[in-house]
């Protein structure tokens, strides 16, 4: 059997209402290209891509329209063929803004000509494979959007011996990764083999929560033939088991040191969506131009797992899902625990848009500034073993130094603390605020030292 139960588990964590039943059984469906695609140059973590086209240009699907804007950056490609209508600053789903290229599709959806598939990838060198990933514009599709080619090139001296494929999808409601594992297990497995070759690591663990037995079975089936050290690790369903550090601990029993990276314990974590994108990029030679987004929530008439072109507006996505059947009071880009609330449906999908969630008015709670009653629930829930209650009181008193002393920078903003807090304190908001304050202070000090 290619499966093993997780031997470890971090303390803390929560059991929210998952509501995955809304879309867990719904096969992925492809959405027709909408009437306009607004393709952001910042779909990843790092420097925005540099625009490579001008207004009025005709582009083909897969054509490069944004070149690396720095070392930590990701390329952007045209998601369909058409005409560049505008190039302008546009708000992003995460609350910032970035240059975006508006493409009016011509309806032909014609691919660029110079597509080179590599069915013979096994004979290619690791370096070449990484450059194929880099050329295809792949960023971590689990949420953070870190450039994949950078992640796959550890600095010399760092040995990565274990590859963990994150199929936990621990955020409530989201089922995009779940469906990918059920429907495209074979391709994901080939993606895994490509990463394995790049890293030269033998051990592979595919981490899946036990609420997805069909995904576990599908992955296990495609891995059956593998002669190497590979297995599906079955995680207990609990949020946030998909968080990188928590997942590494669950799969390997190793703690990533504070401020460190998974490679410090010899591990690397890739999301299943990213792994599939790597397969598409290498074997088929296709750049990343689409992704699966779970459009869900009780007010949505026909929730589903939608394969949409990057740059599709949230309004178009909702319309494709037949709109709303009741009132929605909150719209979240991503999952309910870590996603971003939206002011409007104008934002467009990116490489990291895992979900679009609509919440009913009665599901929406507002935070209050009630005092902490020291119940300790946040302390017990925190998967980083922090003391959110104390931290938040310090931050409220504007004592950022004390919060830094108590390791607020280790907070992963998972939201477990705020989920449990009976006083409805805005704990995550406090943590974010303190982290931003500390980072700003550090940048200032650095700048001072330089001058």
């Amino acid at each position: 059997m290619k499966r093993e139960p997780a031997k470890f588990k971090v303390n803390g964590g929560i059991h929210p209402a998952y509501n995955k039943q809304l879309t867990a059984e719904k096969a992925i469906i492809e959405m027709p290209v909408p009437s306009l695609l607004r393709v952001s140059m910042l779909q990843h973590l790092g420097a925005p891509a540099k625009v490579e086209v001008a207004k009025g240009d005709t582009v083909s699907r897969g054509q490069l329209i944004g070149e690396h804007g720095g070392f930590i950056s990701v390329r952007v490609h045209a998601p369909t063929s058409g005409t560049v209508k505008a190039i302008a600053e546009a708000p992003t789903a995460t609350g910032g803004s970035a240059i975006a290229v508006d493409i009016e599709p011509d309806g032909e959806d014609r691919w660029v000509e110079d597509i080179t598939p590599h069915p013979d990838w096994e004979s290619l060198e690791g370096k070449k494979l990484i450059s194929l990933v880099s050329d295809a514009g792949i960023a971590g599709m689990g949420g953070a959007g870190f450039p994949t080619h950078v992640k796959l090139s550890p600095p010399p001296g760092k040995v990565i011996d274990t590859l963990i494929i994150n199929g936990a999808e621990c955020e409530p409601y989201l089922t995009a990764d779940h469906r990918l594992m059920v429907e495209r297990a074979e391709d994901i497995w080939n993606g895994i083999r490509i990463i394995r070759k790049i890293l030269g690591c033998a051990t592979v663990r595919v981490a899946i929560e036990d609420n997805k037995p069909d995904a576990i079975a599908a992955m296990e089936a495609v891995m059956a033939e593998d002669t190497g050290d590979s297995a599906v690790v079955i995680l207990k369903t609990e949020y946030p088991q998909g968080a990188e550090k928590q997942q590494i601990f669950a799969a390997l029993g190793k703690e990533v040191p504070s401020g460190g990276l998974p490679m410090d314990v010899g591990a690397l974590v890739e999301n299943v969506g990213t792994t599939l994108a790597i397969f598409e990029a290498v074997v088929k030679g296709l750049p990343l131009t689409e992704r699966v987004t779970t459009v869900t929530g009780f007010p949505v008439k026909a929730p589903g797992n939608i394969l949409a072109r990057l740059g599709t507006s949230y309004a178009d996505l909702l319309a494709f899902c037949e709109g709303l059947q009741g009132k929605a009071a909150k719209v979240v880009s991503g999952g309910p625990m870590m996603g971003f609330a939206q002011h409007s449906l104008d934002a467009t999908t990116t490489k990291t848009t895992s979900g679009l969630l609509f919440l009913r008015p009665d599901q929406v709670r507002t935070f209050s500034s009630m005092p902490c009653i020291s119940c300790g629930r946040c302390v017990q829930a925190c998967p980083m073993y922090l003391m959110p209650a104390e931290l938040s009181q310090m931050i409220e008193a504007e004592d950022i130094e004390a919060a830094e002393e108590l390791n607020v920078l280790d907070c992963i903003e998972c939201g477990c603390c705020a989920f449990e807090c009976p006083a409805h304190r805005p704990l995550v908001q406090h943590m974010k605020q303190a982290k931003a304050g500390i980072m700003a202070k550090r940048r200032e000090e650095k700048a001072k030292q330089k001058s």
Binding site: S35, S258, D316, M338, Q342, C375, G415, A418, A423
Partner: protein, 345 residues
């Protein structure tokens, strides 16, 4: 085609934009306090059963007084009334439970002023009070009206010589004076006595007598996850272990562990007072330290102190070091080494 569908779609009302998370457990302070009130109901029923009208009189007047004082204080400070969280109701019931049945109503109301106005609102209201308000109320009354606060009703004590006698002392008080004057214990301990104490047929404050009723309330709070076993478990366990050792060393002068557990205010204290969230530690380890500390202090006062009962003082003393306990038991942050390990390596 997409355009067409869009026209039919009712626009979502995007009126709430806040930081993540966008999901919540549904827990609220009000619900927690309501659960505590529910958990106190069996003990209230027992109080009414054993003390009749007096139990109702004290409980009702304390609840009304506490809520009114809370509202008045908040109003005077220009804040919203804040009585919706039910915490004043809990304080009122707990204070009443710590009073002897014959206490005049006006004295009980004085206790409420101490509890809510001084011990709670003066410090900033719920969440900011370092000491358990109900216990402050009780101790203030004990100091202000020592006679009225130790005036108990009549109780049939199980006597060691086989003739039951009437007493107006609490079981623990009687033991203390007897050990001090005669050097021996006034009881014999058989199943009947234990049952009597368990059910609540004993002298004491109105809410503390029935260990069984308090236990049922505790079980309810455990089930509702309002409290965890750590504080009461360690508190009761420490008292049991401590008294067991004393008893084995000298059974003539020391009460047996089951007597310590069932008599006096221990159950009420361990289940409802030591578990008060605001004034007890937030970490699991801290809760255990807190419970053990309460247990040791309670036994030291009961055995060697001037008062026959030590639960209130023990908990208040531990309240005062809660911030220290929190600091000392802060968990090791994920990905950090323990301090001493860091030095070693």
């Amino acid at each position: 085609m997409v355009e067409e569908q869009k026209a039919e779609t009712p626009e979502p009302v995007l009126n709430v934009v806040s930081t993540s998370p966008h999901a919540h457990s549904g827990a609220s302070v009000q619900r927690i306090m309501l659960d505590v009130v529910i958990a106190l109901m069996p003990a209230l029923a027992a109080a009414v059963w054993f003390f009749g009208w007096d139990a109702l009189r004290l409980t009702l007047s304390c609840v009304i007084a506490c809520v009114a004082i809370e509202a008045l204080c908040r109003k005077a400070m220009g804040r919203d009334l804040g009585i919706g969280d039910l915490s004043a109701v809990v304080t009122g019931i707990l204070l009443a439970f710590n009073l002897p049945p014959a206490l005049p109503t006006w004295m009980a109301v004085v206790g409420c002023v101490f509890a809510v106005a001084i011990a709670k609102q003066l410090f900033g209201g719920i969440g900011y009070n370092p000491f358990n308000p109900a216990l402050i109320g009780r101790v203030a009354l004990l100091i202000s009206f020592p006679v009225a606060m130790t005036k108990w009703s009549e109780w049939t004590i199980p006597s060691p010589i086989g003739i039951d006698a009437l007493s107006t002392a609490t079981p623990l008080g009687l033991a203390k004076t007897n050990v001090m004057s005669a050097g021996t214990l006034p009881y014999h301990f058989d199943g009947g006595t234990m049952l009597q104490l368990l059910m609540g047929d004993q002298n004491g404050c109105i809410g503390e007598v029935s260990a069984l009723a308090l236990f049922i309330g505790g079980a309810y709070m455990l089930w509702r996850k309002v409290i965890s076993w750590h504080t009461p478990g360690c508190y009761l366990g420490t008292v049991a272990a401590f008294s067991c050792i004393l008893w084995i060393v000298n059974p003539e002068k020391n009460l047996p562990p089951h007597f310590h557990l069932l008599a006096g205010g221990l159950m009420l204290g361990a289940i409802f007072m030591a578990t008060d969230m605001v004034t007890s530690p937030v970490t699991r380890k801290g809760m255990m330290v807190f419970g053990v500390g309460c247990g040791v202090l309670t036994m030291v006062i009961r055995r060697w102190g001037g008062y026959p009962e030590g639960v209130s003082f023990a908990i208040l003393l531990m309240n005062s070091i809660t911030p220290l306990i929190n600091r000392a038991t802060a968990p090791r942050v994920f990905g950090h080494q323990r301090k001493n390990k860091e030095k070693a390596s």
